[in-house]
Subunit: 337 residues, 2 copies
DNA sequence: TTGAAAGCGCTAACAG
DNA sequence: CTGTTAGCGCTTTCAA
């Protein structure tokens, strides 16, 4: 069933039907009614694929995040879907599992021209991977990592956010503040900025940064946090506070502490990062850095939509560094019940 | 850039290029090399939209879940994406917020013909909404609700699963077992089967089903669980166990208990449903019914893919009721540390 | 083994 | 205000 069928049934031309379907204004009410009638009778629905082929746009954006099992990305994805809907775009979701080859595949546009643009949160992708990108769909980057490439990048000020977290712990009188979430193998990678913030705030307060309090993690989930905390404690470290790369790691760490009979915050105060809903419902609610996810989603979508509409090629654009706000949310894991 | 450009550059016809791109076997190596060279030089990528228009299929499935913020659906979505990828399909994700009109919109195919099929987890949709469905993309239903309509339905045996949970509590000697997650306004709705299971298992054991231990919820998140538990306790109920509709409600309920100084499981044992990773990292780990999410995802995708391939119209199909397995995972919230 | 040509369903000129 | 026509880029008969 196509425009043609409707046209035949209504006794008009294809163009007229198209006009009705697209709400083209100058149509006599009689014609419109006649056509509408045929549309209803036949149950006609326009074929968007054909429309897209013709217009060169599909109305689909892709969002690629490392892992939907991480509530931060799930919540963000929901916000992106909502923001995209406001611009009449729908969202195709990918998860890369934080693996470089998957991230690479996504940026190289393996959906060639079914998407109009891509929002990517890279974890392992290297600048050179992005530099040789050939796909011409607009790309917007989100997340902690910065690439000095001609793509808009949306992320909160991670260093400032980390400093605020550490500042809060220092203000509470804690001095032996551990950082959970370094990557031993590649020190410059994802958690870099938050680690820098930790160092900077300690330095600014004249508190020595004890490297034995920096714990590496294997991944970014609760199990990794629990393992890292256990390793830290087993190695004999005695922190009085923990700043975790994210809430999941913080939650895993708290579990490890409770298994060892350590109390939060009396023995060890904990601050996380992401403000997951999950952190508000533990036995001890979690103090955390709360990035403005809605703003991140909105800015990413707006950036992409304008790039698509503008039809500018990436190389011709001046990339923007957009920084939504964040807030430190103080809860029981630092303040007590 | 199109096949035409490549053809011109290679000095062959469009068809030949198409053959190369599609790995059509009977091509002389010389020709293939020549064409491949042109493809590489030009950086040609096939336009999937055009291919789809021609073939009548898009290679995109849609998955519509109530809420990505609920980790159960986020985890399930990840599994569906993986299962779809095995069949060379990609997934377009929607969230309906459990609102009937959004669910309706999705089933009526507002993405008309950009998707080849739809997997839907309805919450509020009524049978009559589905009965008048006109969109002809195959549909597969997942989740607790059953509709007697010609669509495959994939869900674990909710009554049996609920009974196993209640059985476990009874075996531990609990007798005043509350059910958290009824919907006061519409008793027949989503949580129906699990409530039935609660009733059935109590009846089978000769334990009276105390209706004052059935607590309604406003929604399905942690806050709803906390509110329901608080209301139950404030009303003077003194359960010695709680079976929650899902893990989020159970987690919220445990938070409400801990705020009142009640201990889990000493004072009240708790069983949830969904087996979220989150439940394994609280101060008290959560006993829960663990549905086989991977199997649900796999079956849903396979059902859809075969319906698409078969080209059968819904009315002609014999709907199947597929039941993946589940397991009761016993943890601290019923067994203690 | 390769080429020519038709057509998937739609929109956008351009006419009338 | 409405009709005709030419493609968007691809696959697919049908020939050569």
């Amino acid at each position: 069933m196509s425009l043609k069928d409707v046209a035949e049934r209504a006794g008009v031309s294809i163009k007229t039907v198209s006009n009705v379907v697209n709400n083209y204004p100058h149509i006599t009410p009689t014609t419109r009614a006649k056509v509408q009638r045929a549309i209803d009778d036949l149950g006609y629905r326009p074929n968007l694929t054909a429309r897209h082929l013709r217009k060169g746009r599909t109305g689909i954006l892709a969002l690629a995040v490392p892992e939907l099992g991480n509530p931060y990305f799930a919540e963000l994805a929901g916000d992106v879907i909502d923001a995209a809907a406001e611009h009449d775009y729908t969202v195709l979701l990918d998860h890369t599992q934080g693996r470089r080859e998957r991230e690479l595949l996504v940026t190289q546009g393996f959906r060639a021209r079914v998407i109009d643009g891509l929002i990517l949160n890279p974890l392992e992708l290297e600048p050179e991977d992005l530099a040789v990108r050939t796909d011409d769909a607009p790309l917007v980057l989100i997340g902690e990592r910065r690439y000095d490439l001609p793509y808009d990048h949306i992320a909160i000020d991670n260093i400032a956010a980390a400093r605020a977290a550490v500042r809060h712990l220092l203000d509470l009188g804690r001095r032996r503040i551990a950082f959970l979430g370094a990557r031993g193998d590649r020190p410059s990678q994802p958690a870099h900025l938050r680690l820098l913030g930790w160092q900077a705030e300690l330095a600014a307060s004249g508190v020595p940064a004890d490297e034995s309090l920096v714990a590496p993690v294997e991944g970014w989930d609760r199990a990794d946090g629990a393992a890292a905390m256990a390793a830290l404690l087993d190695a004999g470290a005695r922190p009085d506070a923990v700043f975790a790369y994210n809430d999941l790691i913080a939650i895993g760490a708290m579990r490890a502490m409770s298994e060892r009979g350590l109390r939060v915050p009396e023995d060890i105060a904990v601050v996380g990062f992401d403000d997951l809903t999950e952190g508000r419902y533990g036995a001890v609610t979690l103090t955390t850095v709360s990035p403005d996810k809605r703003a991140i989603a909105r800015l990413a979508v707006e950036s992409l939509v304008s790039a698509i509409a503008g039809g500018r090629r990436d190389e011709e654009r001046t990339p923007r560094e957009l920084q939504p706000g964040f807030a430190l949310v103080e809860r029981e894991s630092t303040l007590g019940a």
